[in-house]
C-alpha cells in the first residue's frame, strides 16, 4: 500500500483555549513496500504522524490516502495498517499465544485455527517455547517479539512502529534490528518506523525522513541506497559514514532548537 500524506496537521488542545501545534502541514509519499524511518528530536510529531496514518488520532487538517499500488484504488485509513507501540501495550492477563492471537480472535477465527496461525508467527519471531508464558515472565527483548508477532499476525501491508526498540539494552537492540531486517526482507511491507537513533535509521531504512522541532515538519528526505539484504556489516561501509554525517548535521540543529524550546517552556 502507498501512504500519501498531504498537508497533514495536528493541533492539541492544551487545556482551556491554549492550542499546541504538534505537526505543521506535512506532505510525503511513503512508497509501497519501502521502509521509511522518521528521525527527529523528541516532541517533533513523529509519533503523531504515524498515529494519524494508522487512523488512531483525528486529523486537524489535510488528507491521508492509502492506495493500492496496482489498482490505485483508495482504501480506508486504519484498515490496512497495524501499530507496534512504544510501550508495547501487551495484555498482561493474556498468555503470549493469546496476546498474539488477539486480532484473529476479534475477527471470530476459531480457537484451533488462530492458535495454529499464532504458532507460525511465534516461530518466525523465535518464541515457540514461550507460548504459555505471561508477558511479565519475559525479558524486555522477548516482550518486543510478542508485540511484533501480534502486529505481524494481522497480515496487514502497512506496519507502523513507534520507537519499538528504544527501551532495549544495546545488545538486544542489535539482535532485534537484525531480526526486523530479516522479516522485512522476507515479506516487503510499507514500514513507517519512528526513531531518534541515526544509526538505526540508516541500518533499517530505504529513506530517512528528517523532521524538525515543534511544530514538526519535514526538513529533508535522505534516500538510503545501501543494498539489501543488509547485515550489521553495512555499518563499516563509507556510505554509512557519509549518511551518518549528513543526518547528524541536520539533526544537531533541531535537537538544539528543541532543547531551547523545552527550556523556555519550563522557565
Amino acid at each position: 500500500m502507498d501512504v500519501i500524506v498531504r498537508e497533514v496537521a495536528k493541533v492539541w488542545n492544551a487545556g482551556g483555549r491554549d492550542q499546541v501545534a504538534a505537526l505543521a502541514p506535512v506532505s510525503h509519499r511513503f512508497a509501497s513496500g519501502s521502509f521509511s524511518c522518521l528521525l527527529g528530536p523528541s516532541g517533533c510529531g513523529k509519533s503523531t504522524l504515524i498515529r494519524l496514518v494508522g487512523g488512531l488520532e483525528s486529523l486537524s487538517g489535510g488528507t491521508i490516502e492509502i492506495r493500492d499500488p496496482v489498482s490505485c484504488a483508495l482504501q480506508p485509513v486504519g484498515k490496512h495498517s497495524v501499530m507496534m507501540w512504544q510501550g508495547l501495550n501487551l495484555f498482561p492477563w493474556r498468555t503470549v499465544i493469546d496476546n498474539v492471537a488477539f486480532g484473529p480472535e476479534m475477527e471470530g477465527v476459531s480457537r484451533n485455527e488462530r492458535y495454529a496461525k499464532a504458532r507460525e508467527v511465534l516461530a518466525v519471531t523465535g518464541l515457540q517455547a514461550f507460548a504459555e508464558h505471561y508477558p511479565r515472565q519475559l525479558s524486555g527483548g522477548m516482550r518486543q517479539r510478542v508485540a511484533l508477532a501480534r502486529a505481524l499476525i494481522m497480515g496487514r501491508p502497512i506496519l507502523l512502529m513507534d520507537e519499538p526498540f528504544a527501551a532495549l539494552d544495546a545488545q538486544t537492540k542489535i539482535v532485534m534490528q537484525i531480526e526486523l531486517l530479516r522479516i522485512f526482507e522476507a515479506a516487503r511491507k510499507t514500514v513507517l518506523f519512528v526513531t531518534h537513533a541515526i544509526d538505526e535509521a540508516i541500518l533499517l531504512g530505504d529513506e530517512i525522513v528528517v523532521m524538525s522541532a515543534r511544530p514538526g515538519r519535514i526538513k529533508e528526505v535522505i534516500p538510503v541506497n545501501l543494498p539489501r539484504p543488509r547485515s550489521l556489516d553495512v555499518v563499516k561501509t563509507p556510505e554509512f559514514g557519509r549518511l551518518f554525517d549528513h543526518a547528524f548535521h541536520l539533526i544537531r540543529e533541531e535537537v538544539t532548537r528543541a532543547m531551547e524550546q523545552q527550556m523556555a517552556e519550563s522557565a
Binding site: 501499530m83 507501540w85 488477539f102 476479534m106 505471561y134
Partner: protein, 265 residues
C-alpha cells in the same frame, strides 16, 4: 526457568522466613504468663494465657464454639456475597455508562462517609433483630467499597490498551468484554478484599448489640464480658482474630490465582 521446590523444602523455607514472628509470639505469651503468675493478677482483669487456652478447649469440647462461629461465618459470607454481586455489577455498569455514573455518583458520595453502625437502629425497626438485619447491615456496608473499587478499576484502564485493541480490530463491544473487564479485575479483587474486612466488622458489631439474638461470636463476647468471664472474652477475641486471618489469607491466595498479573510479587 525457576526450579520447582519440593513440598518439604518449601515448608522448611516458610518456617525459616516466619521464624522471627513465631519467636516474637512465643516470647509475648511467655512474658504474659510469667507476669500474671508472678504478680498474682486476678483473672477478672487479666487471665493467664494457659487459663484462656483451657476455656477455649472447654468451649470447643461442649460444641458452643463451633456453633457460634459457624453462625457468625454464615452471616459474614451471606452479607459479603450479596455485596459482591450487587457491588461488582453496579460498579461495572457505572464504569461502562457515563449516564449511570452521573446518577449514582452523588448517592455514593453521600452514603460512603456515613458510619454504617449508625444504621443499626433503623434496620432493627424495619427488620427486627433476626438474620435479615445482620446480613443486610454487613451487605450494605461491604457493598460501597466494592462498588467504588470496581467503578474506579473500570475507569482507570490504560487508554493505550483500548487503542491497541481497536487497532487490532476489536469492536466497541469486544473492547469492553475482552479488555476493559479483564484489565479491571485486580481493582475489583482489591475491592472484594476491602469489603470482606468490613463485612466481618459489621456482623460482629450487629451481634454485640443488646437484645439482637443469642447467637454468634459477637453475642458470646458481649455476654461473657457482662458477667466478667474474662477468660471467655479473650477466647472469643482469639477465635475472631484467627478466623479473620484465615479468611483474609485465603482471599489473598484466591486473588493471586485469579489475577496474578495484578500483584507485584
Amino acid at each position: 526457568m525457576p526450579q520447582k521446590l519440593s513440598w518439604s523444602d518449601r515448608i522448611g523455607a516458610g518456617v525459616f522466613y516466619h521464624l522471627p514472628a513465631i519467636v516474637s509470639f512465643i516470647l509475648f505469651f511467655a512474658a504474659w504468663e510469667i507476669l500474671v503468675q508472678w504478680r498474682d493478677i486476678p483473672p477478672i482483669y487479666l487471665p493467664a494465657p494457659s487459663a484462656i487456652l483451657v476455656t477455649l478447649w472447654k468451649m470447643a469440647a461442649d460444641g458452643s464454639l463451633f456453633y457460634h462461629l459457624g453462625i457468625t461465618l454464615f452471616r459474614i459470607f451471606a452479607g459479603f456475597i450479596v455485596a459482591a454481586v450487587v457491588g461488582v455489577g453496579l460498579g461495572i455498569w457505572m464504569g461502562m455508562s457515563p449516564m449511570v455514573a452521573r446518577v449514582l455518583d452523588p448517592w455514593i458520595a453521600t452514603l460512603y462517609p456515613l458510619p454504617k453502625i449508625s444504621l443499626i437502629p433503623l434496620l432493627i425497626i424495619w427488620l427486627g433483630t433476626g438474620e435479615l438485619y445482620k446480613i443486610s447491615l454487613s451487605a450494605f456496608s461491604a457493598f460501597l467499597p466494592i462498588l467504588i473499587s470496581s467503578y474506579s478499576g473500570i475507569r482507570q484502564v490504560d487508554p493505550d490498551l483500548l487503542k491497541t485493541a481497536a487497532d487490532l480490530g476489536a469492536s466497541r463491544h469486544q473492547i469492553q468484554a475482552k479488555v476493559v473487564i479483564p484489565a479491571s479485575v485486580p481493582a475489583i479483587v482489591a475491592g472484594l478484599q476491602l469489603g470482606m474486612g468490613i463485612a466481618i466488622i459489621l456482623v460482629v458489631a450487629a451481634e454485640m448489640i443488646g437484645g439482637s439474638g443469642q447467637t454468634g461470636i459477637g453475642y458470646l463476647l458481649i455476654s461473657a464480658g457482662q458477667v466478667l468471664e474474662t477468660e471467655k472474652v479473650f477466647a472469643c477475641l482469639l477465635v475472631l482474630a484467627a478466623a479473620g486471618a484465615v479468611i483474609t489469607k485465603g482471599q489473598d491466595y484466591i486473588s493471586r490465582k485469579i489475577a496474578p498479573w495484578g500483584f507485584a510479587t
